[in-house]
């Protein structure tokens, strides 16, 4: 058996001339937390709905647990828990009754309801109607629904939407503990890099329906180029000087950004000083992940 839990091959969805998901090939490995990142409207939710069989792909294939989703959806769905976007519930029923419906359809153990209620800390409110729940409680109920029946794969679309900071922290801790505690693989989507950065083993970055990057975040960081930030009195003149010396330099907000790393800092400095420039500041600048993410998704936008 392959170690990939989710595998999509050129997954594409077209709605009336618009393509929210375009030739997407994702690979989620067993036991990992996979962060599915992208700005709003990038195609994350459409992709997730295709992974759950809610939307039919126009082209391409989804394989989960090494089985084709198109042919074995029921078999696969027994081992997948999900929370897609806004929470799904029946407002006139209590939290417990909502879970009872999911439990029956999953053919899970009745004790599982209490266990999941405990995990998301809703035990105290289980006999209250869900329409009287706060948004955060509804979201936690959604997570409880996803955890029912101890699935092997958990698909969470923006699970921290509508939660307060304490709630976000709690859900994050919960997600991190799942692979070890319950032997789960987790795919979690978000439009906020920082949220995923803290928990994900690997990420997939999507924008305009296309996968821009897949792999470890550290690998993404390595892709970012290092620059020397140099502050001098007459930056335009200095830039010309460095250009003649074989460096590429760009002026931005009174500072020069030279394409070089710290090993060349002394040499750049020497060039400038010997030519009569007063150098006030030299430092190495590396882009933050946030910047790389923004740049990556913006580039895709401007295409």
């Amino acid at each position: 058996m392959s170690s990939l839990v989710i595998e999509t091959d050129n997954l594409t969805k077209t709605f009336k001339g618009f393509t929210p998901v375009d030739s997407l090939s994702l690979n989620v490995k067993k036991g990992e937390i996979y962060g599915f990142l992208g700005p709003n409207g990038a195609g994350k939710t459409t992709t997730i709905r295709m992974l759950l069989g809610l939307i039919r792909p126009t082209k391409g294939e989804v394989r989960i647990f090494d089985k084709s989703l198109a042919h074995h959806r029921i078999e696969i769905a027994k081992k997948v828990g999900s929370l897609v976007e806004s929470p799904s519930y029946y407002g006139h029923l209590t939290g417990y009754e909502n879970l009872e419906i999911t439990r029956k359809l999953l053919n899970a153990d009745r004790q599982d309801i209490d266990r999941t209620l405990e995990i998301v800390r809703l035990t105290e409110w289980k006999h209250k109607k869900v329409k009287h729940y706060s948004l955060g409680m509804k979201q936690r109920l959604g997570i409880a629904q996803a955890l029912l029946g101890s699935p092997e794969l958990l698909i969470l679309d923006e699970p921290t939407n509508g939660l307060d900071p304490a709630g976000i922290h709690e859900i994050r801790d919960l997600i991190v503990s799942l692979p070890e505690r319950m032997d789960m693989t987790v795919l979690v989507s978000s439009h906020i890099l920082r949220e995923v950065e803290l928990i994900a083993d690997r990420v997939g970055i999507i924008s305009r329906g296309k996968l821009l990057f897949e792999g470890e975040l550290a690998k993404l960081q390595e892709r970012s180029e290092v620059k020397l930030k140099v502050e001098v009195e007459r930056p335009d003149e200095a830039a010309r000087l460095l250009f003649h010396a074989g460096y590429r330099a760009r002026k931005k907000e009174h500072a020069l950004y030279v394409e070089a790393d710290r090993s060349l800092a002394a040499e750049v400095n020497r060039h400038l000083v010997l030519a009569g420039h007063d150098v006030f500041h030299i430092s190495e600048e590396r882009k933050s992940l946030e910047d790389i993410f923004l740049e990556l998704t913006k580039e895709a936008d401007s295409v």
Partner: protein, 245 residues
């Protein structure tokens, strides 16, 4: 996953809801109107009216038929709308259909649920009419043949309405759309019923369910037996292919 579990969860979702008020309250309200009508005009209806020779039980059905021919399709419209509103109102479709259940079993279970609620309403109405007859002290014995046939024709005729309303209620996120269509067609039932062809239209056939001699009872039979399974099948075909966005 057994079909039974899907059906029992469908029933479970109607717990504590408005459905029960509709299924019991609706027919009782119609029965109350018939009671007032028959009670107030008792002597006229049984001696001077055209239908007087049908006896008190038949006269009561005659008084009911137009009212019920319009309210029953409206009732089915509302039952179907409520069943689907439960899924639409808080985005429950996407959760339900990502569980290990087939779309076919979900669609069939909801159809069956609407049928059973409709039949329950018809039974409630018949029991209420029986009680009215006893209350008013009808002299003749209860004509179980007449009432039984009426129930049977309604039961068959309702299938077309149920399949139609079930599908359009599943199609529109806005619950008002299927209600406006269903109520509109139900109100038009009296007019549709005048036409030879249109009287076979699902919403019109309850008008022809009354087993009197001069009534063409083939309308509910053909409409129900053809439109019922046909619209159910077509609706299911579309539902199974639908993207849940």
């Amino acid at each position: 996953m057994s079909r039974m579990a899907v059906f029992t969860t469908e029933l479970y979702k109607q717990k504590n809801g408005v459905m029960w008020w509709l299924v019991f309250g609706g027919p009782l309200l119609i029965a109350a109107l018939v009671f007032i009508d028959v009670r107030v005009r008792y002597d006229y209806l049984l001696t001077k009216s055209e239908q007087a020779d049908l006896g008190p039980w038949g006269v009561m059905l005659g008084e009911l038929v137009y009212l019920w021919a319009m309210f029953m399709p409206i009732g089915i419209t509302l039952i179907a709308a409520i069943v689907h509103y439960r899924e639409f109102s808080e985005n429950a479709w996407k959760h339900l259909l990502s569980l290990p259940v087939t779309r076919r079993s979900v669609y069939l279970s909801k159809w069956l649920l609407i049928v059973l609620f409709t039949y329950s309403a018809v039974i409630v109405l018949m029991l209420a009419l029986f009680a009215i007859g006893k209350l008013l002290g009808f002299s003749e014995p209860f004509p179980s043949d007449l009432y039984g046939e009426y129930v049977l024709y309604q039961a068959i005729g309702a299938l077309g309405i149920v399949s139609f309303q079930h599908w359009i209620s599943s199609r529109f996120q806005n619950v008002m759309a299927p209600i406006v269509i269903g109520v509109g067609l139900s109100v038009c039932a009296i007019f549709l019923g005048q036409s030879e062809v249109l009287s076979f239209f699902p919403h019109a056939v309850i008008l022809y369910a009354i087993p009197f001699e001069d009534v063409a009872n083939n309308r509910p039979v053909w409409s129900g037996l053809i439109a019922g399974p046909l619209l159910l099948g077509l609706g299911m075909l579309e539902f199974r292919r639908r993207d849940i966005v």
